[in-house]
């Protein structure tokens, strides 16, 4: 008899992408009578696929980077010591799992398992008091919207609660659009019932009659799990709130992929069947929202926080900092060892997240982009900043939805800004002049700079136009779109100046400003570079013709002796300089 009570395979998107599908199949095939469950994501995306064994003695064992072959699966079934995974102590000391407590630990499709783990207790607690008291709890907890703007959730709910209308609408913003942000996806995939419970409590507190979840269509698994959740809730009758005659109407609306639809007025327009474009506020959605009805919109993570808040508002308020209470889930991506999700109390320093949780090598990081394309970069010398709404704002960045893109030392900050402006100029809704045309003109200027065709005046141009775009745009997309350029200029002006004044890229990332050079002193003449060069740019006597070279980096990656490197244009041994 096996000691294993249950096998849990992490099959959220991150797990599936790493091969959890095959792992799951093989465990099902080889585990005999042991039940195999699909669970969500525990946040350690860097070591997916992850398999957790629940043992009969009540303990559990994690295995990371599990391979799907029979031998590996059988070894795990035999409780091998190899491949076991424990959360690094340094990380465990910082992380505080409240909102993600159940993520990756329970079957997201099973309402009973959620209940067994304390699910819907908060709903029960909330519906036992008056809606006004629930709003007061949320206010008292200090919970601020996790979508980016950081507006008090309790205040927003109180606005909606104060309205009298035939219908009142509550929307869950699940249009997570920032590149490098995936905490909402993970919550919906891993603990959909927790999100839905938050919404039910919200509906009770505000008197909302209709609930929408506006989820991007690129999250099929999230949508599937949410729909299963909604069906289960309706079947259990949880959608008929105490004191209501009619059950709540809960619907998922799949977004068609426009970044701007994460903006609340654009989202409402999209839900109405209109083109997703923001509109001028006032009137605010709580006055006039979906089809004219009072409407409130909260983010997925905000709703996922609600059960935690309701369970103990005072404890929640005690977490984090004075003005930013509770925890925040950050999505770590970019140049670091351990990409994934981490839930930490507000006010933890950025350095702790990047180095202690993210595992980035000390000294390897140049900056972190927070808040995605709407945010700004924070240079490494400011990593002692406390991660809360107000501290980041002072640095010209935003906490945003919690995406942290770690930028390593070998990345060019001009190119980084160009990358984000490329995103925003495409994703502008196209309505306002400053955003539609201005971001394009900024993008073109950045393109010129990385192509080595910039002028010194371009830096001032970017700053001037960027500040005007901030002032002259209607919605947060336009108001924040220049952020990546403005903050990189603010902290890395010297990199811009190197491009436009001195004609080189300080990290030799920009192809137009870099050459590839071979150091004859290090070269052992193995010829691997010559063999692998796709364009024949390396001669038999190991000279690189930079006018032929496409800067594909193949030779650099191939060279075992690290004899080949990108260098400042026109420098470097006796390679032929590029055009």
């Amino acid at each position: 008899m096996s000691e294993i009570k249950r096998i849990k395979v992490g099959t959220a998107s991150c797990g599936l992408a790493a091969g959890a599908g095959a792992v799951l199949e093989n465990f099902k095939r080889l585990a005999g009578d042991i039940p195999v469950a699909e669970v969500g994501c525990i946040g350690h995306c860097y070591c997916e696929p992850i398999v957790e064994l629940e043992l009969k003695d009540g303990t559990n064992i994690f295995y990371s980077s599990v391979k799907a072959d029979d031998a590996s699966v059988q070894a795990i079934l035999a409780l091998t010591e190899n491949g076991r995974f424990t959360i690094p102590a340094e990380r465990a000391a910082i992380e505080k799992l409240y909102v993600t407590r159940l993520a990756g630990r329970i079957d997201p499709k099973d309402i009973e398992e959620y209940k067994a783990n304390g699910g819907f207790e908060s709903l029960k607690k909330a519906t036992a008091v008056t809606p006004a008291e629930v709003v007061e709890w949320v206010k008292k907890s200090g919970l601020r919207g996790r979508g980016g703007a950081g507006f008090s959730t309790g205040m927003k709910w109180s606005f909606l609660a104060a309205k009298t209308a035939e219908e009142k609408i509550l929307i869950c913003n699940a249009d997570e659009g920032d590149p490098g942000a995936f905490m909402d996806r993970s919550m919906m995939e891993s603990v959909p019932f927790q999100v839905l419970e938050g919404m039910l409590i919200g509906a009770y507190a505000t008197g909302a009659t209709k609930l929408f979840i506006y989820c991007r269509a690129e999250y099929p698994l999230a949508i599937k799990h949410l729909q299963i959740g909604i069906d289960a809730i309706c079947k259990a009758g949880l959608n008929l709130l105490p004191g209501r005659e009619k059950p709540l109407d809960i619907m998922i609306k799949e977004g068609a992929g426009a970044f701007v639809c994460g903006e609340e007025t654009a989202m409402i327009a999209s839900l109405e069947g209109q083109r997703g474009q923001p509109r001028f506020r006032p009137p605010f959605p709580t006055d006039k929202g979906w089809n004219g009805y009072p409407t409130a919109i909260n983010n997925v993570e905000t709703y996922a926080n609600i059960p935690v808040v309701i369970a103990d508002p005072d404890a929640f308020a005690a977490l984090g900092t004075e003005k930013s209470t509770g925890t925040k889930i950050f999505a770590l991506a970019g140049d670091l060892k351990n990409p994934g999700l981490a839930e930490v109390p507000m006010g933890v320093t950025l350095g702790d997240i990047v180095y202690k949780i993210g595992g980035a090598a000390p000294g390897s990081v140049k900056a972190v982009q927070t808040g995605g394309p709407s945010g700004g970069c924070i240079p490494a010398d400011k990593f002692d900043v406390k991660m809360d709404y107000d501290s980041l704002k002072e640095l010209g960045a935003i906490i945003g939805s919690g995406g942290l893109i770690v930028i390593g030392n070998d990345r060019c900050m001009v190119e980084t800004a160009r990358y984000f402006l490329d995103f925003t100029h495409r994703e502008s809704c196209g309505k306002c002049t400053f955003c539609r045309v201005g971001t394009m003109r900024m993008f073109e200027t950045l393109e010129r700079i990385v192509a080595g065709k910039g002028q010194e005046s371009d830096i001032d141009f970017l700053e001037d136009l960027g500040n005007k775009i901030k002032k002259g745009s209607l919605c947060a997309l336009g108001q924040t779109a220049p952020g990546p350029a403005l903050s990189t200029i603010r902290y890395f002006r010297h990199e811009y100046e190197a491009h436009v004044r001195d004609g080189y890229c300080p990290v030799n990332q920009c192809n137009a400003l870099s050459d590839v050079a071979l150091d004859p002193a290090k070269c052992v003449k193995c010829k691997l570079c010559i063999k692998n060069c796709p364009v024949g740019a390396i001669s038999d006597d190991f000279k690189i013709d930079n006018s032929k070279c496409t800067r594909c980096n193949t030779c650099i990656d191939t060279c075992a002796k690290k004899a080949i490197a990108r260098v400042k244009k026109g420098t470097g041994y006796d390679s032929t300089p590029g055009k």
């Binding site: 701007v260 100029h425 502008s428 809704c429 196209g430 002049t433 045309v437 201005g438 971001t439 073109e444």
Partner: protein
């Protein structure tokens, strides 16, 4: 609800509940510009030209949608707000393309409304054509014959064939109606202007002065007025009887022309400046440049020689015999062709190749046709007079070296290539210079130093024409004369002279465009060949001074008008983007970058949808959706590529009632009727 009081630029303004800042401001007499609002459709806040600043928060608000709060302080007229509006307009201009003016009009030094007079001519209304022409070109008979046709060089018809023969519209319209046409002349206002020089610039200045009620008096040193038109341009290009008719009109307008009066001899600038309210100096550029070779004195000076022919009425002149003309400009061509007609055996010597010749290629071509020989890459070295009276012109062959300051490749002598022409006459036509009248400062090239913006020399003295620009064309002189006249008028009235710049957002020069870029508002634009003049016989061209070809008749010119593409914007004069950009002094190139590329949609028989002009304000979408209830237009795509289109890009469906509501509301003419008034 009670009225809301707020502060707009320091003044208290009242707004009714629900009224926007823009609406309240308008009632208070402050007009806030905006493109995306018309008060009829729901608020859009797209263009952000209407921004105002909330003083307290420092935020910029779209005044078309923001409603004032009680006591709110709003700034609309500050430099900061203006800068934001300028930026918004500049950004819109950077994605907008539409040819505010047609390229021909832009190319014309006088900015004559070419498209308009060609259209009038096409419709057979040559009197109207003449009226339009004379707004900018008061010498249409002469210019209709001698203009080098700047307009045609930039004509977009060059993409699919040859340029529209624009200048022939001028010639025909003038031939038909010049004599009978008389402007509405205002009463003289008592102010007098002395115009020194009766050439194109002086005549033009006089014309526009008289049109505004000022009394010009022309002083001309020659026996007759006309300047270079009479004493430089040969009879066969501009018959002097035609010039006489043209000048007769000036006399009929009451313009006084005093001939045989020379500045510095019979009159002085000082005296004229004291006697008249203003003086305009248009003395031309009449000093021949030297060849700087030994024996120079044996050569005729080109313009002097031409002047002599004019005085002698052309036909009575001596046969110059074997002739060499030195030079590659228009004067050289005129000398050569005159010499040919007088029986000479003519060779033109030019030190570069035909490509570098400053002369009009048409004239070079005509000269060649007539039998003028050309020795290119040849430079004179010395001139010697032989005992028999004949001349020996020693020359040297040249080759082209590096480009010089003018961008032309400079000639370099070829060693040992010397050779000699044995001739009877050598005419040096290598250029002219200005001799600035005494008491007038000259610039470094010797031309009259006049201020660029208003052609003012000093005090009440202005100058125009060749004497300011150096030798140039008649149309440039005419443009300068008008400019000096208008500047002098402003001076006399004590006004600041502000020249309205010709605002234009061009689709680009035809060389950078292809056929698909052309926008045809008419379906039946003719693709026939360009009309050709019927030259007189070659025999006559070689032996007589008869005009090269008669004026092209009306039916052919009307047909030629069918070839015109009508490039300029249909919304000329109504475009809000242009209006506000001019008001805020925004230049079209304030920002540059990518523009969307769309072919104009002309599938509808009466409506053109030119999305290259669209500023995405969405008024058309809302007008059709909210007012007409048809929803035939919608936004497509997003980001920079946002555009307005019809369902599945199928064009307006049959149930579009062609009501034109969208057209009426479009601020930039992106949607318009397919006709021009």
């Amino acid at each position: 609800m009670s009225e809301i009081k707020f502060i707009l630029d320091g003044k208290t303004v009242t707004a009714a509940p629900g009224e926007t800042i823009m609406q309240a401001a308008r009632k208070a007499g402050v007009e806030i510009p905006g493109l995306c609002t018309n008060g009829k459709v729901s608020r859009t806040t797209s263009c952000f030209v209407c921004v105002v600043k909330d003083k307290k928060t420092g935020r910029f608000l779209p005044s078309c949608s923001a409603c004032p709060a009680e006591g709110q302080e709003v700034e609309s007229e500050t430099a900061e707000v203006a800068e934001m509006r300028r930026t918004a307009l500049g950004l819109l201009l950077s994605e907008h393309t539409g040819d505010c003016e047609a390229p021909c009009t832009m190319a014309c030094p006088a900015h004559a409304k070419v498209e308009e007079y060609v259209r009038a001519g096409r419709k057979g209304d040559f009197k109207e054509a003449l009226r339009i022409i004379k707004e900018r070109i008061p010498l249409p008979m002469s210019i209709g014959r001698v203009c080098p046709r700047f307009c045609e060089k930039d004509c977009r018809k060059n993409i699919t064939g040859k340029a529209v023969s624009i200048n022939d519209f001028k010639r025909l319209a003038a031939d038909l109606y010049y004599d009978e046409y008389m402007e509405d002349l205002p009463e003289l206002n008592g102010k007098k202007v002395a115009v020194i020089g009766g050439g194109p610039a002086g005549l033009s200045a006089s014309y526009y002065l008289r049109l505004q009620g000022y009394a010009p008096t022309i002083y001309e040193r020659m026996p007759q007025a006309g300047g270079m038109l009479r004493y430089g341009i040969p009879q066969f290009r501009l018959p002097k009887e035609i010039l006489d008719r043209e000048i007769a009109h000036y006399l009929a307008m009451g313009i006084e022309i005093n001939c045989n009066v020379e500045l510095g001899k019979d009159i002085t600038l000082e005296q004229l400046s004291a006697d008249f309210d203003s003086v305009i100096v248009c003395v031309g550029s009449w000093s021949p440049s030297a060849m700087r070779i030994e024996g120079e004195e044996y050569a005729e000076q080109g313009i002097r020689w031409l002047e002599g022919l004019a005085h002698a009425k052309w036909t009575n002149c001596k046969n110059p015999g074997r002739t060499v003309v030195v030079g590659g400009g228009n004067t050289a061509m005129d000398c050569a062709r005159n010499a040919l007609r007088l029986g000479g055996d003519v060779t033109v010597v030019y030190r570069r190749t035909q490509n570098e010749m400053p002369a009009e290629q048409l004239e070079v071509h005509e000269a060649m046709e007539e039998g003028v020989k050309f020795e290119f890459l040849t430079a004179p070295l010395s001139l010697r007079k032989n005992v028999d009276g004949s001349l020996s012109l020693a020359c040297q062959k040249m080759e082209l070296g590096e480009p010089d300051a003018s961008g032309r490749r400079s000639p370099v002598p070829v060693e040992g290539s010397d050779f000699t022409f044995e001739v009877d006459t050598v005419i040096a036509a290598i250029g002219q210079r200005t001799k600035a009248p005494a008491g007038i400062e000259a610039d470094k090239r010797g031309n009259v130093a006049a201020a660029r913006e208003n052609l003012q020399v000093s005090g009440n003295i202005f100058a125009a024409g060749d004497c300011v620009s150096g030798p140039a064309t008649v149309v440039e002189a005419v443009a300068g004369g008008r400019k000096a006249a208008l500047a002098a008028i402003d001076f006399m009235e004590g006004r600041e002279h502000v020249e309205a710049p010709l605002f234009n957002v061009s689709r680009g020069h035809w060389r950078s465009l292809c056929k698909e870029d052309l926008v045809y508002i008419r379906d039946n634009v003719s693709e026939d060949d360009r009309v050709q003049p019927e030259y007189i016989s070659m025999e006559k061209r070689k032996t007589t001074f008869e005009e090269l070809f008669p004026t092209i008749p009306a039916e052919k010119i009307q047909a030629e008008g069918e070839r015109c593409i009508e490039c300029s914007c249909t919304s000329k004069g109504e475009c809000k983007l242009k209006k506000f950009s001019e008001k805020y002094a925004v230049k079209p190139d304030m920002f540059t970058g990518k523009k969307q590329i769309h072919a104009a949609d002309t599938r509808h028989p009466y409506i053109i949808h030119d999305r290259m002009k669209c500023v995405k304000c969405g008024i058309c979408v809302k007008t059709c959706g909210e007012i007409i209830n048809k929803n035939l237009l919608a936004f497509m795509k997003r980001g920079f590529n946002t555009s307005v289109g019809t369902s599945f890009n199928q064009g307006f469906p049959s149930y579009c009632k062609d009501c034109g509501a969208c057209i009426n509301e479009c601020p930039v003419g992106a949607l318009d009727w397919r006709e021009k008034k």
